[in-house]
Amino acid sequence: MSDGTDKLLEIRNLRVDFPVRGGLFTAVRDVNFSIRKGETFGLVGESGSGKTTIGRAIVRIAQASSGEILFRGRRINGRITRELDSEVVQKIQMIFQDPMASLNERAKVDYIVSEGIINLGKFKNEAERLALVEKALLEVGLLPEFASRFPHEFSGGQRQRIGIARSLIMEPELVICDEPISALDVSIRAQVLNLMSELQKSKGLTYLFIAHDLSVVRFITDRIAVINKGELVELAETEELFAHPLHPYTRALLSAIPVPDPILERKKVLIVYDPASRDYRTDKPAWTEIAAGHFARANEAEAAEYRRLLAR
């Protein structure tokens, strides 16, 4: 499975620091994962765990302090050539968390949607540009006449679809979806999710889907990585992760998913993750492959225990 050829994106030892008063704050450290072409890769963690930062490092809004980000085997962080830069801009796009904040209120939808293709010069004349905008709007279920309006005239769900149209007009291969539905009204979340999965099928997209709870990603992802305080703690195929969670943090997250059955819900035991419960003084934890494709952050003793658990 991991023969290396199907890796669209690979992240090695990524670390991102932010300058804060009195030094550096490490938002993300020691992150390793790769995304295969065509899959939906989930990145799950609580607020402030560094999910957005990883997404931003991939689109190079946040600078990686160390480590490597490889797209189709080529390094895209740090200094890169102009050609590679514009190729990456086109091939990796992002859908933002807050549709209320991510659209330019002073520009018409027409400009917002065509901004990317203007930058790349992907059309020959005005008529072609308008046709591309119209196609992009129709693809996300919006009407072409919306092009002449301003963002504030739209609902949250419509705004998010404008954001999707804006990134898909670039014809990207990898789309980073940063909690694309968490700011939306519950009633339209499914609509946006369905749209995204239709688009994935029709365009062969690869998604990095960021979310803060596991219940959302269970039904749309192929693999999931769980992140806690800037470090990945576990990565596995979605069903494997739900069936055999290894890391105590993953178990705590899983136990927090509400069960739609009041009796079971009452009996459910909430696991609270306590980082102090583990002794890392002598035996340092590392990113370890416990079973094929199932990674966890563990020290030697824990890795051995996890292997025993999986063997049962």
Partner: protein, 334 residues
């Protein structure tokens, strides 16, 4: 609506009767509506245009509108006044033909509407000429400072690599007291209209640049700007399309307030003796002349008239600036 309520509340017989009546009235209301996905999208339609809404909101403010007309009239009149019949030159020293002496300190009369000054010049025409000079200085300096301030402030605020250099340059410039800059430039060049404009611009543009820079730093990392960066939008277009449109209202307010500020500086510079030459009437010159003879109560009209003009201009620009700033803030657009 009322009909519907009655139907719901009434006895079953009434329901049938009313239902029939309604159906008879307009059968189209009671046909089955097909599900139409596009119709579901057609919500919240409005014909919004930023500048039209701004204009609309501005015109609703009657006081501001009045002051705008007043200021416009004053500015137009300063240019028209010399062309009217029977006007004296503002620099002409009027001599009494009977005695051969100057008409000194004549109080306002039918002949000299605002009186004359201590060397016999007509205060009426001097005030209009002075207002024209001062308003022009204020407006030119305001516009030049705004253009320079936006150009440098936008780069300073948005291009991170430039921040350090710009901040150093600003600190140096800002640590030279404005008075010294103005005095130096006024000394180096001959006192004149151009000298005044150049000196004031040199003293004020970096303040505007810092103001713009701070505004840009506040909004530059908002998500919509990050989205533009993801799309590979070049810096100059991010500044023009994403950042400056958001700053229209604060920048206009700043500029409107700077115009009376500049006029105030002009008065001050004249007071310390490095303003415009006496041969060019300006509000600064007029206030200064009035100040010298302020102690004689019967001559105070020479100070009062120019002071009134300065006050009107200051208050008008202040109110106008605020009104425009409110009107151009889309949060106030309904």
């Amino acid at each position: 609506m009322a009909d519907g309520k009655a139907v719901a509340a009434g006895p079953p017989a009434a329901v049938v009767a009313k239902g029939d009546a309604a159906a008879g009235a307009d059968p189209a209301l009671f046909t089955f509506a097909e599900f139409d996905r596009d119709a579901g999208e057609r919500i919240g339609w409005s014909n919004y245009s930023y500048w039209r809404s701004t204009l609309h909101m501005f015109l609703r403010n009657r006081v501001a509108l009045f002051l705008l007309v007043l200021l416009g009239t004053i500015l137009a009149f300063t240019f028209l006044q010399p062309l009217l019949p029977n006007q004296r030159s503002p620099t002409l020293i009027n001599i009494d033909p009977a005695t051969g002496r100057q008409f000194r300190n004549l109080v306002p009369s039918a002949e000299y509407w605002f009186g004359t000054n201590s060397i016999g010049q007509d205060l009426w025409s001097r005030i209009w000429s002075g207002t024209r000079t001062s308003l022009l200085i204020g407006i030119i300096v305001g516009v030049v400072e705004m253009v320079l301030g936006i150009a440098f402030g936008a780069i300073w605020g948005y291009v991170r690599k430039a921040d350090r250099v710009f901040t150093e340059v600003y600190n140096v410039l800002n640590n030279i007291p404005t008075t010294i800059v103005l005095m130096l430039l006024a000394y180096i060049m001959r006192p004149s209209f151009q000298t005044m404009v150049i000196a004031m611009c040199a003293a004020g543009w970096h303040g505007v640049a810092r103001f713009v820079r701070n505004q840009i730093v506040i909004i530059r990392d908002r998500e919509y700007n990050l989205a533009s960066r993801c799309l590979g939008t070049p810096t100059h277009r991010i500044i023009m399309k994403n950042l400056l449109p958001y700053l229209v209202s604060v920048i206009m307010l700043q500029t409107a307030l700077s115009i009376p500020g500049t006029i105030g500086w002009e008065v001050f510079l004249t007071y310390i003796g490095i303003g415009l030459p006496v041969s060019i009437p300006s509000l600064g010159n007029l206030v200064n002349e009035g100040r010298l003879i302020m102690m004689a109560p019967e001559l105070r009209y020479q100070l009062i008239f120019p002071t009134i003009v300065v006050s009107i201009i200051t208050i008008s620009f202040y109110v106008l600036g605020n009104a425009f700033s409110d009107a151009s803030d889309p949060r106030n657009h309904v």
